[in-house]
């Protein structure tokens, strides 16, 4: 038998015996590769007698094509078999506990603060900031809280010096004055931040907590604007209409001053045994009011570009920790600052 015929028999036999892709690759390499047998056969042609050359050449090329087609077909069959086997599935168990993805978390106060900021920002409010170690002037005096006002007594305020010149701010309201000093009305802003009160600590009181101050200054500001704004904010925050009620409240830096209650988001104003509103049906949400003329005078006084007689405004302040607690149904404010990841990682 001629050499090329032997080569053909051998190659087709090997091809037929292949059961895996790797074997096909080896067949391909051995016959079709750069150093393969068909290459060698072709390379041997010049050394053959002249009359044999066309015959061997044609046979080699035929074999090459035949092998290529055979390989493609075998590959196709193996792939079809592999896909069929994969599809059959085997002992797959989707309920095996998945590999846990490590995760980080944002603090719940950060999450809710951002939400508050996003809503007010969308209503055209700027976001302001102020120092936590604050001058008595901004924290009290300029806010119409006179020297002998009870809230300035030692038990409420952390003082940073014997002269009581510096305090840990007891509210975010000093930002009102700081902004008034620097800006030209009209403007509207919120100022979230950390505040401090030297009070007894329990599940709903901590010496460090967070407030969001709001301030709108312009001409013709009315009580209705205040309720309209806060209602709009709450509806967006809770993603539904929220009942509110406005009642008298005393804060020296507003006149008239109000407390705004929210229909308890947990029991929907039904009260009863609700532990969030303690059965009242309403939850105190924020202190607010029209900005007191003394405060406007302290913030804008002595400026040519501001006409105090025409200026009006409203201000509000609410506790962010309380909002977080309402949002998630938490019962101990101290967990927020406790730094225990078993609690924080959930957010």
């Amino acid at each position: 038998m001629e050499a090329h015929a032997e080569l053909r028999d051998e190659a087709l036999a090997r091809l037929a015996a292949c059961t895996e892709l790797a074997e096909l690759r080896s067949v391909e390499k051995d016959y079709l590769g750069p150093e393969g047998a068909i290459g060698a056969l072709l390379a041997s042609i010049p050394s053959l007698p002249k009359e044999e050359r066309p015959k061997v050449g044609a046979a080699a090329n035929r074999l090459k094509k035949e092998l290529e087609a055979g390989l493609d077909k075998a590959r196709g069959e193996l792939e079809t078999a592999r896909v069929a086997a994969e599809r059959a599935g085997g002992d797959f168990d989707p309920s095996l506990p998945p590999r846990r993805a490590a995760r980080g978390s944002l603090h719940p106060l950060t999450k809710v603060r951002r939400e508050v900021e996003r809503i007010f920002s969308s209503m055209g409010y700027d976001i302001a900031d102020g120092p936590e170690v604050e001058l008595d002037y901004y924290n009290f005096q300029a806010l119409n809280i006179p020297v002998d006002h009870p809230s300035r007594e030692m038990q409420d305020t952390f003082y940073c010096d014997e002269e009581h010149h510096l305090v840990m701010r007891t509210q975010t309201s000093p930002v009102q004055i700081r902004v008034m000093e620097q800006r030209q009305p009209p403007f509207r802003l919120i100022a979230p931040g950390r505040v401090f009160r030297n009070e007894e600590q329990d599940a709903t009181h901590n010496h460090t907590f967070h407030q969001v101050e709001g301030l709108v200054v312009g001409e013709g500001i009315q009580v209705g604007h205040l309720t309209g704004t806060l209602k709009g904010f709450l509806a967006e925050l809770f993603q539904r209409q929220v009942q509110v009620r406005l009642r008298p409240g005393y804060f020296p830096f507003v006149e008239p001053g109000f407390e705004l209650d929210v229909a308890c988001p947990f029991c929907d104003e039904k009260g009863g045994t609700c532990r969030v509103c303690k059965g009242v049906g309403w939850v105190e949400f924020c202190g607010c009011g029209l900005v007191h003329p003394e405060v406007l005078a302290a913030g804008f006084g002595g400026r040519d570009d501001v006409d105090l007689d025409k200026l009006t405004g409203f201000a509000f302040g609410f506790g962010l920790d309380r909002l977080v607690m309402l949002r998630y149904g938490l019962d101990d404010i101290r967990n927020l600052m406790g730094g225990d990841l078993r609690f924080l990682e959930q957010f």
Binding site: M123, P150, M168, G218, G220, Q222, G228, L246, R247, L341
Partner: protein, 812 residues
């Protein structure tokens, strides 16, 4: 403050108004009502009984066995210890199962062998008096079997009002003031009350002098002598009103004094006249002067405290508490009534300094209406006379002080009320509202001149806005329609710091898998001591929340360190961060406020890595990777970590040799990163099971905000394929990897597109004192496919550069 609805009914007709409605309307228009409960519900559970028979207990001298009829088929047998129990008496019976105040449940009992089913009650047991000497003898006409509350007309409701909502309203610290509000809210008249002082004898009036230096502290002082008073229990109506208002009834004089205070809001005091025979002098206390108060407390006073004295001897701490020596005794018949107006802040401060905050001081500190002084005296005397008609007033009252009736009026335009409230109220509505609260209105040219009544004139009402509030709250704020704010639409101001903070938080909580924590601004001395930072300047609190918790943090990092232990107990990997403020008092601003810094603190704690772990498995390397990623993500380009000279300053928590400044490409230092000082592991609780590798870092937001970001130019996709080459360089052990990387970059002449260290090797096959660093390189050119020659030339340049720097390019 507790308010009795029955008591309110003495001043305004409440017919047809349910207690809950009253509570709600007060909350919505005046002050927050926190509670609305029936008064003494236990009285409704007590039954009127008739003692049919009383026999002595066979085995006990002082006990009686009584047969008591309570309207049921069978009378009860009750053992009673009171001396005054007798047949024919109407008594208050607590049957078995009744719960008395103090959570005292009546059970069936055997007393000295005698079965007893129930209890005959004394006033004290029902919280209606102090006398324990006997059972309560009920009036003849009380119907047997009915409940005590309805039999005696004791039904009442108690409102609890949040004191904080009354801070600015001295007039609401008494029932009459609240009744005035109720009258205005419900449109009913306030009933008249005669508070004039009745006719007096012509004797010499009491002597009262106010020392000149105390004139401002005591603007008004009235003294009135009373003769023929008997100390006895108060009538039932008075006890019940006081009990409902939360005041325990004691005896007639104490009760009357409290009654007037709770009715008009004006505290007052009764002296034994013999103890003040030398006349009254009101003066400031001398430095370190001592006095003993009614409660036997001894107090050291100073010139800011106001004293009521007689013959130099203090007899009362003004507005706060009477003295022990001038107390009214059971046999006292001649009294001196004091009704005064004291300076609010003085009373508050004295009460706080001495720890004697009382119902009296709580009222004085609100700045009371001076007109209440004679009114309270008249009211007390008239009430006393209604109970003991034989009492006489031997002399006219002495009423002294610099006080003058206020004459305050405020201009108000009705238009302003409409504008501020945003409601169309007509002029008539506005003036009627104000008049119903006692304001006196004179209209001229469309503007009101509003006379402020004395009870609102001390601090409360002084400007037109105050009157807007009065009209608004009576109208009901809830009736004001909400409306949207209208304004010019401009984008909110851009806040670079807020944007930066959010980007940091998101990257850390996201890809870096850190948890955000918020720590207190106050550092405990113990933690400061452990960290060795006690000597650093800190803002210090004068009155910390707890002993030692008085330092305000300079940096957020110490707060994070304090949280490692509790979290390492729960988990292996603790990766936490906080973005917050720190305060540096050594760099004060123009008004003395400390400099505020904004900082990101990061702490990473994991169990120690194995000896054979990869070079980049350590806490430092991983945290540095987080920092590098953060800065790159924020657009600050490539961060570098530069070791510090041994003598350079570093935070107290930082390992002295394993830390680095974190710098931006232009060399600006923006942060610091280091492993934890080894001496701190144990003090921070990271030992035994919790032994950890800890790395910490700080990043200054202030520095980042001030730094210039390099322009961001995204790389184009390479047009020609890259060539991957691995190289290993042996070098002296002390040579920084950064120097080798720079050497590779230089030898690459721009071809090194990316280089990554994948092995750091020390040990066999290397000369002593050497280490080997192996790198994956990607070479690429912008204009052609690199060939073997390019690689060979690069390796040649690298080999020569290495040799020149005492290194060797290793070829396997």
């Amino acid at each position: 403050m507790f308010v009795s609805i029955k008591w309110l009914g003495r001043h305004v007709d409440l017919t047809g108004i349910a207690p809950e409605d009253l509570a709600r309307e007060l909350t919505l228009r005046t002050a927050e009502v926190e509670g609305c409960e029936p008064f003494a519900p236990h009285l409704g559970a007590i039954t009127v009984g008739l003692v049919r028979e009383r026999v002595a207990h066979p085995d006990a001298d002082r006990l009686s066995v009584c047969t008591v009829e309570i309207g049921a088929e069978e009378p009860l047998t009750i053992v009673c210890g009171a001396p005054n129990v007798r047949a024919g008496l109407k008594v208050a019976v607590a049957t078995v199962g009744t719960v008395l105040p103090g959570d005292f449940k009546i059970k069936k009992a055997k007393i000295r062998g005698q079965a007893s089913s129930g209890m005959i009650c004394s006033l004290a047991e029902l919280d209606l008096g102090a006398d324990h000497d006997g059972i309560w003898e009920l009036p003849e006409e009380a119907p047997v079997g009915s409940d005590l509350a309805s039999a005696l007309g004791l039904e009442d409701w108690v409102l609890e009002i949040d004191n904080k909502s009354l801070t600015h309203r001295p007039d609401l610290w008494g029932h009459r003031g609240l009744a005035r509000e109720v009258a205005a809210i419900f449109g009913r008249p306030l009933l008249p009350l005669d508070t004039s002082i009745p006719a007096c004898g012509a004797g010499p009036p009491p002597q009262v002098t106010i020392e000149e230096s105390a004139a401002e502290l005591c603007p008004r002082y009235l003294a009135l002598a009373l003769d023929g008073v008997r100390v006895e229990p108060s009538p039932l109506w008075l006890r019940c009103l006081l009990a409902a208002a939360g005041q325990r009834p004691l005896d007639l004089l104490v009760d009357l004094s409290n009654f007037v205070m709770l009715d008009l809001g004006q505290p007052n005091h009764l002296f034994d006249r013999a103890a003040v025979a030398d006349g009254i002098e009101v003066r400031r206390a001398a430095a370190a002067e001592e006095m003993v108060t009614l409660d036997e407390g001894r107090h050291t006073l100073g010139s800011e405290d106001l004293l009521i004295c007689s013959g130099q001897r203090p007899v009362a701490l003004a507005g706060v508490m009477g003295g022990a020596d001038s107390k009214v005794a059971p046999e006292t018949r001649e009294l001196l009534l004091e009704v005064a107006n004291f300076h609010g802040t003085t009373v508050r401060r004295t009460a706080m300094r001495t720890g004697l905050r009382s119902e009296s001081s709580a009222r004085f500190e609100k700045n009371l209406d001076g007109e209440l002084v004679p009114a309270a005296a008249g009211h007390l005397v008239r009430t006393l006379l209604s109970i003991q008609p034989e009492v006489t007033l031997p002399s006219p009252p002495m009423d002294v002080g610099v006080y003058a009736t206020p004459d305050l009026s405020v201009e108000l335009s009705p238009e302003m009320v409409r504008e501020r409230l945003g409601v169309e109220l007509d002029d008539n509505h506005i003036s009627t509202s104000l008049a119903s609260l006692g304001f006196d209105i004179t209209a001229a040219n469309g503007v009101y001149s509003v006379g402020v009544p004395s009870w609102r004139a001390t601090k409360d009402i002084s400007i037109a806005e105050d009157l807007v509030e009065e009209v608004g709250r009576l109208h009901g704020y809830d009736n004001i329609p909400p409306r949207p704010l209208v304004g010019e639409l401009t984008p909110p101001l851009h806040d670079a710091r807020r944007t930066l903070v959010e980007a940091l938080q998101d990257r850390l909580a996201g890809g870096a898998r850190f948890h955000e924590v918020l720590g207190y601004s106050f550092l405990h001395a113990e933690l400061c001591e452990r960290l060795g930072i006690c000597d650093q300047p800190h803002v210090r609190l004068v009155n910390p929340v707890a002993e030692g918790e008085d330092r305000v943090r300079r940096s957020v990092l110490p707060s994070l360190l304090g949280r490692l232990e509790i979290n390492r107990r729960q988990r292996e990997r603790v990766a936490i961060f906080e973005i917050g403020k720190g305060y540096l008092p050594e760099e004060p601003g123009d008004r003395g406020q400390p400099r505020e810094i904004h900082e990101l603190g990061l702490a990473w704690s994991v169990p120690p890595s194995d000896k054979g772990a990869a070079f980049d498995d350590g806490a430092f390397s991983r945290l540095a990777g987080v920092m590098e990623d953060l800065l790159a993500q924020l657009g600050f380009g490539c961060a570098s970590f530069v070791g510090l000279a041994p003598d350079a300053g570093r935070p107290a928590w930082a390992h002295p040799g394993r830390g680095a400044l974190c710098s931006l490409a232009d060399g600006t230092a923006v942060g610091f990163i280091a492993e934890l000082e080894p001496g701190l592991h144990r003090p921070l609780g990271l030992m035994d099971d919790l032994v950890s590798d800890v790395a910490c870092a700080t990043l200054s937001l202030d520095a980042l905000l001030a730094a210039e970001k390099p322009a961001f130019r995204p790389r184009k996709l390479p047009r020609f394929p890259e060539t991957k080459v691995d190289v290993a360089l042996a070098c002296p052990a002390a040579m920084p990897a950064g120097d080798l990387a720079a050497m590779i970059e230089r030898a690459g002449k721009g071809l090194v597109g990316d280089l990554e260290l994948f092995d750091l090797y020390r040990g066999a096959n290397l000369p002593t004192g050497q280490k080997s660093l192996a790198w994956h390189l990607r070479l690429r050119a912008e204009d052609r496919t690199l060939g073997e020659n390019d690689v060979a030339r690069f390796l040649g340049r690298l080999e020569r550069a290495a040799a020149a720097a005492d290194c060797t390019l290793r070829r396997d």
